[in-house]
Symmetry: C2
Subunit: 497 residues, 2 copies
Amino acid sequence: MAEHGKAKRGIPPKSDFNAWYPAIVEIAELVDKRYPIKGMDVWRPYGWKAMRCIDNLTHAEMERTDHEEVRFPLLIPESLLEKENRLVSLLKRAREEGVDPSELRDEEEEAGFKKEVYWVKHAGETDLDVPMFLRPTSETAMYTMFPLWIRSHADLPLKTYQIVNTFRYETKQTRSFIRVREIHFFEAHTAHVDEACASRQIEEDLEIVGRLMQSMSLPVIISKRPVWDTFPGAWYTIAIDVIMPNGRTLQVASCHHYKDQWAKAFDMTYQNDEGETQYCHQTTYGMSERLLGAVVGMHGDDNGLIFPPSIAPIQVVIMPVAAHKNPDVLTTVESVSETLRQSGFRVKVDSRDLRPGQKYWDWEIKGVPLRLEIGPRDVENGNAFAARRTGGKEPIPLDDISNSVQQQLSLIGDELSNRSHSHVIHCVNRLNSLDQEIVDGQIYEIAFDGTDADAELLEKTTGLAMLGEALTPYETEQVCIITGKPTTRKQHIARMY
Amino acid sequence: MAEHGKAKRGIPPKSDFNAWYPAIVEIAELVDKRYPIKGMDVWRPYGWKAMRCIDNLTHAEMERTDHEEVRFPLLIPESLLEKENRLVSLLKRAREEGVDPSELRDEEEEAGFKKEVYWVKHAGETDLDVPMFLRPTSETAMYTMFPLWIRSHADLPLKTYQIVNTFRYETKQTRSFIRVREIHFFEAHTAHVDEACASRQIEEDLEIVGRLMQSMSLPVIISKRPVWDTFPGAWYTIAIDVIMPNGRTLQVASCHHYKDQWAKAFDMTYQNDEGETQYCHQTTYGMSERLLGAVVGMHGDDNGLIFPPSIAPIQVVIMPVAAHKNPDVLTTVESVSETLRQSGFRVKVDSRDLRPGQKYWDWEIKGVPLRLEIGPRDVENGNAFAARRTGGKEPIPLDDISNSVQQQLSLIGDELSNRSHSHVIHCVNRLNSLDQEIVDGQIYEIAFDGTDADAELLEKTTGLAMLGEALTPYETEQVCIITGKPTTRKQHIARMY
């Protein structure tokens, strides 16, 4: 702690985002990157608490929407992959050949992700008969079990989720929370009676995402990914991208509609009302620690982190000032902190024997949204002096402290949402023609209704990637940027993480 | 759900514990054992929720005692093992030769647990330069990082914990929660300025264990393990064994005092007040999903599980009765459930269109502590009819429902504690002489002050294992069962899981 003041001076300006981000995650003590495996950071208490606060928002949403939490084994036997491999290669061929998957014959092929998993082939001194891999995600594990749990329509919808560690052998450059090899991962998996019910699940997922993003004040673009960027085995993928400060987009969540494609591969059927055997229709919804990366990246400033109150590990830090001059200071601090804790706030009292400026810096770096100072004069006046991490200071009355603090935290949340909104307006611009200059750090909205080849041309010309199609089209017809044809299809192109 | 009635008839009598236990964990839907890796069960929602309730008790204790939660990587590079191997082999030799470890020269040797870990030697299509293993426990990972975090006495005590998945390549027969290959594990790791401070930590750990065991009404024996059963690298180990219904003991928790032994191996030092470099003294405290296994095993009966209210996933199930006869029934049920939820109880309303008897069975099997029935006459009388899973039924007033429910739950907790107490009295008997008959399912308390060879003789003669020395000795001198010498040292011998 004693070093934070010094450390602060080591924070690069946020305008140099690529230097600021990796520095701040360590200076604010979210993670320690010195663990001797690249891409596997140690979560320090403050970072882990922030992640747990995000998880708690997720748990609450899952409870509200009747999802049940499960916990599947980490290890998956290679032998279970057969079905998945067949499915993925079939869909891949169907796409390449532009035909319906049901028209194609089954051919086994290795799924690409085998190249990205960690393998367990030895245990103790034994060579395992069947190699196992560390889950990169749990479709294979879960869909092996779901058929045992689903018999009739009464067992549907099956809505499950888990929050677990998953693994990916990343060969690209790793970045804390953003690209790591052990991933703190949320995955919801559902099964339904038909395609329409599964589609409604996707709508519910998007509503949940919307609530989560709003509570964390994150600026997002929601897109139906282009076919070539659809999750293997999915009918379609909807991705939620946060617009980072440097204008690059970070996919923090995705929802996949599987139709009955996985169900057919895993023989996941149920008896309907009439006693007929039907295939289930499925969805998944994933999020990860990237949510924390987005919060860090989006809200922080030159002085450190800024946590949205909804997920701040410490929402309010209380500092006694000149406590030696009046014994009422410490008793007031104690009673205020107790009252706030009782009201459910996450509170920390900082009574360390340090200069106030030093303490301010510490909590500024750590992004605590609200600082309350209580000194002899405040006690006399029945006030606490409130300073918001987003700017602005004022006295607030002690006799209604919980409500006052709630108001202050709401102000901070609103301010962060406003900043995010401005950021979107600043970053996202319309591109009407390929002749227009592409500005670094900008995201472009385009009218586009071309083919895959047109998209490729677009990506090559602009140097940007296609995020996919906005869920809300243009209200009036526009001119497709490539083909010149009239269209209402709105798309975004950006530099992606 | 519709199958529970049938399933119930499939529950073996609890007197046949070895048949009852594996059956009930599946019938009550705690786990599914059909996942295709032996010893790696799927946690179903009900089982996982029970485990999370136990974890929440643990989190609360950790918060109360100022431990901070961290999260370390699952994978540990083999290269980090060197220090640990040296430490363990040194201590082993010291014990074998009966000398102080500091008198021995360092010699490298392979730690035994290498034979029990899962190895990752391949990632994607790459052979890894440095093999990694899945943590069986996190000493090696953590003590690689702690020296980076500890510089001066101001950084001490360092009190950390995590709740994570750990792995052990079990070759013995696996049993849900009791002996598994992926273990849901709690581990606290602390560092202190000296041996006395570390000893106080062990005392705090034992106080925490005491509170947890009491809140789950579990009957335990606490023992300082004999030297040969001390954790590798520990100065001493204190183990907490639950007395299972069949009289076998199940170690559910253990605390290890490491003195400065690991600190020396990992060069974990700090500057004291006088600026001198000192080695830290350390402790660990571990628990696992065995806690749930103990709860299942200890409290259940011929009709299913019985959850202590402190960790019951559902504490109260409310059943509307003959709701068609009076519309007030459903509104009362709704308002009671809302009131109870607001008071923090975990509540489920069962409005399924099934015979009441069927519903009773379902919740009996799942061990819900309290059932409330509300029918037309109850509404008229302003009562709910309360039935305790531990036996006993009575009407309770609706107008003070939260307090009444709390009282009912307390009665249930007390009843379970009484049963545990009786169980201890029934199972644990004094053994005064080796001539005495050893009865199956009994645990024996003995006065013992012999050598390791005497202990071996004792174990061979009785066919039981030494749990170790009770923390509270006899108040007056007794006669050692082997040597005949006077001693106040109290020990227990039992059949261990």
